[in-house]
């Protein structure tokens, strides 16, 4: 084996081992790497009322209610299998709207999620308004497809 | 810009600033080193410099 060959195999074997190690570590820490849980995760795993968590999903259509001139809001976060009711006091991001993604941070007492912070999550589609309208009109609009 | 002008213009401003800093510092760095090299070559002397240059070429031919 020439020195070049030897160095090449050392580098390749090293990279393969590194990749395996990284994959194992990332799989082991999966629960800490996710930024939020879905309503289904919460229904399945169950969370204590004192644990601060984030939930993410879609704001259910027609569920957004505003009180005290928009200072306090209630809405339902859904992943189309399970849904969680969220109450929140504070200002919402500009992109917050029904049918759009949302991530809320707070505590869940088993029935209501009390959020201390609400962030908007948008999808990966970018288009002008006219194109969006045309797609909706022609029935090729894929609503809520990206909801997780 | 729909009420977002501050965010949009600062983004483009940051980009232009970082790109400009990278260009200017790179060019100034090369100039400073080239000045240093020619000063050094003058001091070391032309005969020695020629020997050094051929030595450098050999060193880079390993590949």
């Amino acid at each position: 084996m020439t020195p070049k060959r030897r160095r090449l195999s050392i580098v390749l074997i090293g990279l393969a081992m590194l990749g395996t190690a990284a994959a194992l570590v990332l799989t082991a820490f999966e629960d800490n790497l996710v930024f939020f849980f879905s309503p289904t995760d919460i229904a399945e795993k169950g969370v204590g009322p004192d644990r601060r968590i984030r939930i993410g999903g879609m704001v259910e259509d027609g569920s957004w209610q505003k009180y005290e001139e928009g200072l306090r809001s209630e809405f339902v976060v859904t992943d189309f299998q399970n849904a969680v009711k969220v109450v929140y006091r504070g200002s919402l991001p500009d992109l917050f709207r029904e049918g759009q993604g949302v991530v809320a941070e707070g505590k869940f007492n088993g029935t209501v999620f009390t959020a201390s912070e609400v962030l908007a999550k948008h999808d990966e589609n970018y288009m002008p308004r006219e194109v969006a309208d045309a797609l909706k009109k022609s029935g090729r609009w894929k609503e809520g497809e990206e909801a997780k | 810009m729909g009420g977002y002008a501050a965010y949009i213009w600062s983004s483009y401003g940051v980009v232009v600033a970082v790109l400009a800093v990278m260009l200017v510092s790179s060019i100034l760095g090369v100039r400073a080193r080239e000045r240093e090299l020619s000063a050094l070559e003058e001091r070391v002397g032309p005969r020695r410099q020629r020997r050094q240059q051929s030595g450098l070429k050999d060193a880079h031919h390993d590949a």
């Binding site: 990749g19 790497l33 970018y126 288009m127 | 090369v30 080193r33």
Partner: protein, 241 residues
């Protein structure tokens, strides 16, 4: 591979690069001007994000460059360690500050886009965190290479760090698919084609092209500087000897 070996000679490479340089500059300026024109003026607002979509035309190409330059450096590190290509080490060291610069641009423009749209400058989700790690990898590489008295040892240590850090690149790319993140999934490099309207894809790709050319130009300038620094080092050594 013949032309590759032909170019592996540093003096020849620099002569070749110097001839290319004005063309790269001209093409880069042209592409950049077109990108800015379409990005800032001649493209529509997004149906959801409004005018802030214009931040995408600098944010996304910066993030692409951040990853692209790292991959180039890691490939150079590999060829330096395995085949001892001196020019590969020169290229990696010349590219590092530029990579760090593009990563910084991606992070800052991302914050400026996140605040109005998501409602936050920063979150510790898998995508944002792994890009921050990339930024520190660049800084760590620059520090490590310069931490040794013997530049050859610095180059080797740096090259090993680059190869170890390459594991972060697929993590950045696929973080948005593997885990729940606040950052949305890929819009352009995806299996079923881009999910960006052509009118917005145009400025995005123009800016990406301009950034790539800008990097190439800077790389040539900085490689010339790095090669000059090495000649200074050699002359100094022979001066002492």
């Amino acid at each position: 591979m013949n032309w590759f070996h032909w170019l592996a000679n540093p003096a020849r490479f620099m002569r070749f690069a110097a001839r290319l340089q004005p063309w790269i500059m001209a093409l880069g300026l042209l592409t950049g001007a077109a990108g800015l024109y379409f990005g800032l003026f001649a493209s529509p607002a997004d149906y959801q994000q409004g005018e802030t979509v214009r931040i995408m035309y600098v944010h996304v190409p910066s993030a692409w460059m951040a990853m692209f330059i790292y991959v180039v450096m890691a490939a150079a590190a590999g060829s330096f360690l395995i085949w001892k290509h001196p020019l590969a080490d020169v290229a990696a060291q010349a590219a590092a500050p530029v990579g760090a610069g593009f990563t910084l641009m991606a992070l800052i423009t991302g914050a400026l886009w996140g605040q109005p749209m998501w409602g936050t400058w920063w979150v510790w989700d898998a995508r944002l965190t792994s890009v921050l790690i990339l930024f520190f990898l660049y800084l760590g590489y620059i520090a490590l290479v310069n931490a040794f008295d013997d530049p050859e040892r610095g180059s080797k240590a740096g090259a090993i760090l680059l190869l170890v850090g390459v594991v972060n690149i697929p993590i950045i790319k696929f973080s948005v698919d593997w885990w729940n993140t606040l950052h949305q999934p890929a819009s352009v490099a995806r299996m079923d084609g881009p999910s960006v309207d052509p009118s917005m894809l145009l400025p995005l790709l123009l800016m990406a092209g301009a950034f790539k050319l800008y990097f190439l130009y800077l790389l040539i300038v900085r490689m010339r500087g790095e090669l000059t620094a090495r000649r200074i080092r050699l002359l100094r050594l022979s001066d002492i000897a």
